[in-house]
Symmetry: C2
Subunit: 193 residues, 2 copies
DNA sequence: TTCATTTTTTAACTTAAGTGAATGAACAAA
DNA sequence: TTTGTTCATTCACTTAAGTTAAAAAATGAA
């Protein structure tokens, strides 16, 4: 099971056997049932999550409505926010499906960082990469219509629509469920897809 | 002049005199004329910028049109993307006004990191904080109308509208200049502001 | 299976952004 | 000063999303 985690990390830097062993010893892999809420808004952040199997969703609640801010799956493996030492979560995170994830923990992370200083560099690279990706997504979002956003999602994350309720996709795209339904109809008719 | 930089860094961690001296020795403060293009899309990233005085703007060009992705001023002091070792810029960066900025440099940064390992931690904290902020902005953007975005910008970055051409603000808000003009008229009439 | 709940679709209507075109204002260069 | 350019505003028209409401379909639990 830890192999998923090794593969992920080794995209950025090779791991020594000693490091791998240390990671296994951390015992950070957990299973959660569909619907489990991993993080509540305002919680002290416990570290990052990495999805090994399943799907997590981050969202916030505005005027009683859930606004989905992200979906995290095997192919989009990394997660919400690492967070400074005592920062608080801005979003909820819940399981869209039964999921297996690695779960961070601040003490453990600190300890590991001290033992393997290379991991700090690793976190920096990952964080910068996430930032860069997010800036790019934001720019794309600004400069496209809801329909284009839907088509992009279909292209870039095929399968997500099969796994996630449509109204959650809609709020992720920044539109109402009715509009998404309309868009799907339009797209189907025009054979744009 | 370096004091701006010290103040910025010391928001995150206190600096020793030795570190301060090392920073001064780096000699990384530069002035640029309004209109100067600091980064072109596709350039190898040279490191971060920090605005001491003036205003930078990041943008990309889609179908011949400039799409503004960010404004960086004294109050929003930090910048585009640090970038992995050989990553390339996704955006242009230019000076909206005559500006004084600190300019990174990869060799220098690497050297400084080695001499002062604490700086790696600093970069990690900054990067995570930027990521967090950006995730929050993105979520807000998704869940608000163009008019609300305009009002938010007016509230959160007063003065920006006086410093930057309106059509650049418009593309930053993800709308056309005509729409921004309409929104301003609407807002002025309804006394929403 | 049945019933209740959630999710998705459809429709009529309202609202606001996009488009294309024209005008006026501000600004810089010759 | 004149000229050309860029920028902001306005208008008429088109397009699509929001809103409200209702119905249909899918899902899950008793």
């Amino acid at each position: 099971m830890e192999n998923y985690l090794f593969d992920f990390i080794e995209q950025y830097m090779p791991l020594t056997e000693e490091e791998k062993k240390a990671i296994v010893d951390l015992d950070i892999i957990r299973s959660f049932k569909k619907g489990t809420i991993l993080v509540k808004e305002g919680d002290i952040i416990k570290g990052g999550y990495l999805v090994i199997k399943g799907c997590l969703r981050s969202y916030c609640i505005v005027d009683g409505e859930e606004k989905t801010t992200g979906f995290y799956t095997e192919t989009v493996p990394i997660v919400p926010v690492f967070g400074a030492d005592d920062s608080r979560a801005a979003h909820f995170v819940s399981c869209v499906e039964d999921s297996i994830v690695t779960v961070g923990n601040p003490d453990m992370e600190k300890e590991t960082m001290e033992k393997f200083p290379r991991f700090e560099k690793l976190c920096l690279i990952i964080s910068e990469q996430l930032l860069e990706k997010n800036l790019a997504s934001f720019a794309d979002f600004k400069n496209s219509t809801p329909e284009q956003r839907y088509l992009d999602l279909l292209k870039n994350r095929p399968g997500l629509l099969q796994r996630v309720p449509q109204h959650q996709i809609a709020s992720y795209l920044g539109i109402k469920p009715q509009s998404l339904s309309r868009i799907r109809k339009r797209v189907a008719q025009n054979g744009t897809v």
